[in-house]
């Protein structure tokens, strides 16, 4: 035997076995390379795969090859390619032992399949989560919408009762009622915010605003709030921060106040502090670090992620007031602003929440004089008028109708007509010369926004220009914008404060 033949014998032939069977499946011969077979045994008793030999009996093909066949023999597993070749007296089986080769293929296939399946499961999980989130948001939206009407009645009636002759005890009760109403209203607003953030319906409204004024307002509000709990409030801001920045003032205010409310809620003593520091300033962009710290109960490290989830309250045994939505709103709003909330805390020593915010700033505005607004709107008590205005009140909810009617009449500024069906409004407007319309949006038959559009499209100036104030339980910005676009002069959301509503009405009256 030559060297080459020896090598071939050593490295190739050891992996190839030849077996000859007759047409009944009886083993006639075997070279026993790796499977030890007995002549005279049936091949199909060696392994069920070999029942396939019968296919050769019916097949017109001279050769059939089976790849990657697992054969167990004498407690050993071989992964083989098997070639069956028809011969005159039987079948020749050539078995190639390719176990090593196929095992390496198996590990590649394993990794590939697992990765495909896992990514598919992640996608499915996400779809499921999105579906749940969508359902939750729709539920919350409907739920809070339905709550707004009865809450409007409660707030309005409370307001009416407050205006009557009350004794001390009754006044105390009304104060409780007012406080509860306010809490419920704030809760509804929080629920609405979180649901809008979660559903991606909240859009930021970036405008230039005075950051110093915002911080002063925060300071004014929280000095008082902290003092009520015998806490101190400290504001510290870097003088290098620009006075005028571009951002969503309302949402930034919401973030800061939510964090401060949270700090106050979990503090029994010490100082609650807000600091605003300059990280960097380049061209017309500035990065600011807002930090809110307290000396309260602190947060256990394992709970830090959970506090930003909706409806989570850290201390579940000693339940604190509030919806538990504040931090979740902060997290959502900051994500919208391409930022994120971070927290450091030591149990029993307090917590520090901080975030970095990138804002554009306007250098040319820096030296402009700041015009401070004195009052948000005209106070009814200061309003002077020597005549009464003709007002059309369109509202189908009887309780709200009654309260509004009474409150507006009490101002002594109005002659009021009442309509409770959207279909009657246009006729009333044409036949009477109203100076203002106060109209619910959700009306039977014809919606208030639709009526507004019809009035605005009217050819006669005295009709098309009548100021229209909308009232709606739908507090979504996009809806409100839609009503304004259709021609409403202002939209007041339920539950409203009677005083505010009356002031809004007065604002649009021709003096």
């Amino acid at each position: 035997m030559t060297k080459l033949e020896q090598y071939k014998e050593q490295y190739v032939n050891q992996n190839i076995q030849f077996i000859v069977i007759d047409f009944d499946g009886v083993i006639v011969d075997s070279d026993q390379t790796f499977m030890k077979l007995n002549k005279g045994d049936y091949i199909y008793d060696v392994h069920p795969f070999f029942t396939s030999f019968s296919v050769m009996l019916e097949s017109l093909d001279e050769t059939i090859t089976y790849n990657c066949v697992h054969l167990d023999h004498l407690q050993k597993e071989f992964i083989t390619d098997v070639k069956m070749i028809k011969k005159d007296n039987g079948i020749l089986m050539v078995i190639y032992d390719l176990t090593d080769h196929y095992i390496s293929y198996q590990s590649i296939a394993q990794a590939r399949n697992e990765s495909i399946i896992n990514s598919e499961l992640v996608i499915l999980k996400n779809i499921e989560l999105e579906e749940r989130e969508r359902f939750k948001n729709a539920f919350i939206q409907n739920f809070s919408h339905e709550l707004r009407n009865p809450l409007t009645s409660i707030i309005s009636i409370t307001s009416v009762i407050e205006g009557t002759d009350l004794n001390g005890e009754q006044q105390r009760m009304v104060n409780f009622l007012k406080e509860s109403n306010l809490n419920l209203r704030l809760l509804l607003d929080d629920i609405m915010s979180i649901s809008m953030i979660s559903s991606g319906r909240l859009e930021l409204r970036n405008k230039v605003f005075n950051l110093y004024q915002l911080l002063e307002l925060v300071q004014f509000t929280y000095k008082t709030k902290a003092a009520q709990k015998s806490l101190r409030f400290a504001l510290d801001y870097d003088e290098k921060i620009p006075e005028f920045v571009e951002g969503d003032r309302l949402r930034l205010f919401q973030i800061i106040t939510n964090l401060l409310d949270n700090a106050l809620k979990f503090s029994k003593e010490g100082t609650v502090a807000l600091s605003v520091q300059l990280n960097q300033k380049r061209a017309n962009k500035v990065s600011l670090r807002f930090k809110i710290s307290d000396e309260g109960v602190g947060i256990p490290s394992e709970r830090i992620d959970a506090i930003f989830e909706s409806f989570s309250q850290l201390n579940t045994e000693d339940k604190h007031e509030g919806s538990g939505l504040g931090l979740s709103i902060v997290k959502g709003l900051l994500e919208l602003m391409d930022s994120s909330i971070k927290v450091e805390s030591e149990l029993g020593k307090g917590a520090t929440f901080y975030f970095d915010l990138g804002l554009k700033f306007q250098m040319d505005l820096a030296s402009s004089p700041i015009v401070k607004k004195t009052a948000l709107s005209t106070s009814t008590s200061k309003m002077r008028t020597d005549r009464k205005y003709k007002l059309l009140l369109v509202e189908d909810d009887e309780r709200i109708q009654t309260v509004l009617f009474k409150s507006l009449m009490d101002t002594n500024f109005f002659f009021i007509d009442l309509v409770n069906d959207g279909a009657q409004v246009l006729e009333e407007v044409i036949n009477n010369s109203y100076e203002i319309i106060l109209m619910d949006v959700d009306l039977p038959n014809v919606q208030g926004d639709h009526i507004t559009k019809l009035i605005r499209d009217f050819p006669f100036k005295n009709i098309k220009n009548i100021p229209i104030i909308g009232i709606t339980a739908s507090a979504f910005e996009e809806n409100i914008n839609d009503y304004l676009n259709k021609g409403m002069n202002a939209v007041v959301t339920k539950p409203f404060d009677l005083q505010e509503l009356v002031e809004t009405v007065l604002k649009f009256l021709k003096k």
Binding site: Q106, A109, Q110, I116, L124
Partner: protein, 167 residues
């Protein structure tokens, strides 16, 4: 000694749908959550009792899963008496094109009884799956769980019985 009356069945379907687990449940009455990819083909035998006097030997070919039915090696299907096409009820990608897949299988295994099986029903809400199947005009013969054993024996026994009657 004569070869016992035997019938070859092949189990097809995408990878990871639980073909091997169904066989393991049927043959050994066991289940493992660990997924081990099958490459090529594993062949197992199980003697099934059709009635008090009759048994049949099922030669079960557990084929490597593939999302390309066209790629199944033809040699594996030679001499097959029955085909089981398995999908994963919890992964729509394994059954969304099943009617096209079944057409290809039917051309590769002409005139051979074909059973469609939705596995892993322990992971899903049955009503939702049935709605999904109905919407996509997918007909199944069995909905099974290799994990709980739900309908596994019935399915194999019914196929065995069907193949026995055909002989």
């Amino acid at each position: 000694m004569e070869m016992q009356k035997s019938k070859k069945i092949v189990i097809l379907g995408h990878f990871g749908v639980g073909k091997t687990s169904l066989i393991r449940r049927f043959v050994n009455d066991s289940f493992s959550d660990n997924y081990k990819v099958t490459i090529g083909v594993h062949i197992t035998k199980k003697v099934v009792e059709i009635n008090a006097n009759e048994t049949i030997s099922l030669i079960i070919w557990d084929l490597e899963g593939t999302d390309e039915v066209q790629m199944i090696r033809n040699s594996y299907l030679l001499g097959t008496h029955g085909v089981m096409f398995v999908f994963d009820a919890s992964r729509p990608s394994t059954f969304q094109n099943i009617n096209e897949d079944l057409k290809i299988v039917a051309t590769k295994a002409q005139g051979i009884p074909l059973m469609v099986v939705g596995n892993k029903i322990d992971l899903i809400i049955l009503n939702e799956l049935q709605t999904q199947l109905k919407t996509n005009s997918i007909e199944t013969n069995y909905l099974t769980s290799a994990k709980t054993g739900d309908s596994v024996n019935e399915m194999f026994t019914q196929l065995a019985s069907l193949l026995n009657d055909q002989a």
